[in-house]
Symmetry: C2
Subunit: 244 residues, 2 copies
């Protein structure tokens, strides 16, 4: 029986990968993924058959991986971060409906909400939500409704895909929606770029400043709740312990 | 200079730990944590000084770890899952304010939202939130407000701490709040108990059934969005790709 391993490789550094993910890459006969993610694991998959496709080739890539697995092979389909969070796991499980002879296994990894948070301190120390600002597959109205609900519920917020070549103004629009929904402009925020990779950079700033900030597609953004504070340059959302 | 490494050890199996977490445990002179979590890594910390404290000893444990680090030692303070999500990172960074001679480093891990999701399929394949049902440190009114907002925004929801000896009825109350806020009783849900550990069990069920379900404190609960579906016994929240 063929196997499709949908593997989250973490943020990019070898150290932030789980042992199960590394093991899955070793078990695979063929490794398949977006070109830039294949690059991140090139040392680990030396000598294996590789199939890389450019971005936005997700459906084709997934179908190819299932076809190869249906031939009795073990195929690793890689996502950065966790395969279950804006990754390939859901798509693979949907398409696998038509390929019952393939067993699909999801191998979890560290998503950018967690790896980025660790760089900044502990911004997600209490209830939080993750929202993608990409409107390629989700109407902006849905995104904005979720931003407003997150503000009303006082969640800590992690924003994925805050920008792209096509979406330069999305972060400013998102911050505008949050401010309009009652978030304080002084709310403690932060961003991390190239998490765990060469050129990792981060900044702690207010929501008012974030609304003016230029970020790129390799950036993960964090917006605090009303209890989030800055401590020695790091972001902390307390759980609520009595420290007296 | 002393170092405090706040380490997320993942759900419990050695394979779901990151290499950085394993490395942090190796670097540590002393390892400190809740007794049950120390047990999970006992093989990795053989020969090291261990300091374990019972549950609810979080503040004392953290202060002890900082005092030891202030003596110039490298101390690993462990959390299950990710240290930044309902873990020890925020508390450590808050208390470290008083101990400037200690450098604090957060080492991220796989939180139960991710490891549990992988067991069930891909329930968090689109925007999601994490809410803890523990009212030890958070008033129930705040928890319920977040549940209602999550329902209104159609987030996928991951519930932490759905029960304890003291909180037998919290999951039923939470499901009641979600239904009352307009969630469909047929909404696809699931739970996973003892993720990555001996006795791992999971179930896929409807929100209406979940409201009647008995779960324990070692369970993580997933509640789908309006687009979440069941596929071959697994839970999938599609990102929205066109599959024609």
């Amino acid at each position: 029986m063929g196997r499709l391993l949908v593997v989250g490789i973490g943020p990019g550094s070898a150290g932030a990968m789980t042992l199960d993910a590394r093991d899955a890459l070793e078990r695979a006969d063929v490794v398949c993924g977006y070109t830039a993610y294949i690059e991140l694991v090139r040392d680990l998959v030396a000598g294996k058959e590789l199939f890389d496709t450019p971005m936005r080739g997700e459906v084709d890539r997934c179908r190819w991986a299932l076809r190869e697995a249906a031939r009795g092979r073990t195929v690793a389909l890689i996502s950065s971060g966790d395969a279950g969070v804006y990754g390939m796991a859901a798509l693979a499980l949907e398409l696998a409906q038509d390929v019952p002879e393939v067993e699909v296994e999801v191998v979890c990894g560290v998503t950018a909400a967690l790896s980025g948070a660790a760089v900044l301190g502990a911004p997600l120390g209490h209830d939080f939500c993750a929202i993608s600002l990409s409107d390629l597959l989700t109407p902006w109205e849905v995104i904005e409704r979720r931003l407003r609900a997150a503000a009303a519920a006082d969640f800590c917020i992690c924003l994925y895909n805050p920008a792209s070549h096509r979406r330069a103004g999305h972060l400013a629009r998102a911050c505008g929606a949050l401010l309009d929904a009652g978030k304080d402009p002084s709310c403690v925020c932060g961003w991390v770029r190239n998490i765990g990779r060469e050129g990792q950079t981060s900044r702690v700033l207010s929501l008012g400043e974030l609304a003016q900030e230029e970020v790129n597609m390799f950036t993960t953004v964090f917006i605090g709740s009303s209890t989030t504070v800055e401590r020695d340059g790091r972001i902390v959302t307390p759980r609520g312990y009595d420290l007296r």
